[in-house]
């Protein structure tokens, strides 16, 4: 029975998301450097492009899951009081889910409004 937090999957995801985020950030900086969007409209159009939109969405999901795995590790190492640990883990989870929803709201606004 797998009732506990995972070990292998979070670890694997931490590696994969790190590679993806590095790639995305390199691409992002390169793009900004080589052909910077000139005005607000250009920014919006850039992010509304389906490929860029998708890549950005994946970036933020990777980021928040990466943060989850990393902070979860710190909590498992240092917080030994079970009720406190549970509260901190749940608050962290709720914060990260809220941040994800907020990012998606922003992304949908860019694409559809």
């Amino acid at each position: 029975m797998r009732w506990s937090l995972g070990g292998f999957r979070p670890w694997l995801f931490q590696r994969i998301s790190a590679v993806y985020m590095l790639g995305f950030l390199l691409f992002f900086m390169l793009a900004i450097y080589s052909c910077p969007p000139t005005d607000y409209q250009a920014w919006r159009e850039w992010f509304a492009h389906p490929v860029m939109w998708m890549a950005t969405a994946i970036f933020f999901v990777s980021l928040f899951l990466h943060v989850w795995v990393g902070l979860r590790d710190v909590i498992l190492d240092y917080l030994h009081n079970v009720p406190i640990r549970l509260v901190v883990l749940i608050s962290l989870g709720i914060s990260l889910i809220s941040l994800t929803l907020w990012v998606f709201r922003a992304l949908f606004t860019v694409a559809y409004l």
Partner: protein
Amino acid sequence: MRFLIQRFNPETDEKPYLQEYEVEVTPGMMLLDAFKAIKEQDESLAVRYSCGEGVCGSDAMNINGTNGLSCITPLADLKEPVTVHPVPGMPIIRDLIVDMSTFYHQYRAVKPYLIHHDPMPETELLQSPEDRDKLDGLYECILCGCCSTACPSFWWNPDKFRGPAALLQAWRFLADSRDQATALRLDELEGPYRLFRCHTIMNCMNVCPKQLNPTEAIGHIKKLMLKHSI
């Protein structure tokens, strides 16, 4: 030569304290020899040792801040005053002797023996020289505990994290061509604690008196898990 040695008798002392000793040093002396000389001045000092030549793994301790075996640590290599503590993170029984129960518990938990499901052959279980070579750097572990007691992750979670020594042995049997319990062993290491509390801090490989590399073994286990998961 000046020595500062941590003393603690749980029956009479409230807190551990450092006691100073002075020993006449002759060339070629090991730290363990100094302890023997100290015991002639003060027989109440408790140190555990047996073989005296780095084979039994009884005399692990923290020497000038680094874990090691006193019997193979030359005094000539040590800065004065030589400060000796018991290995960190373990309950002290007395002076430099610690209770290694959690360490052995974690060792037992990795099933450190061959598991073979097929009927045993009439003669020996054979292994090619190449397969045998894969066990070099793994089987030499003397279970001194220098590595696990130098590992912060083991300090924080000694009851749940297997620790470098036990994980090196887990890999020793996963790497053995005669062992048939790979899936069982990998399953047993899943979860957030047993294997994955390792954050590649690498204190283990720095302190191992046998120059073994538990960090590398842990990396091999993770790679094998990856291979078995996709």
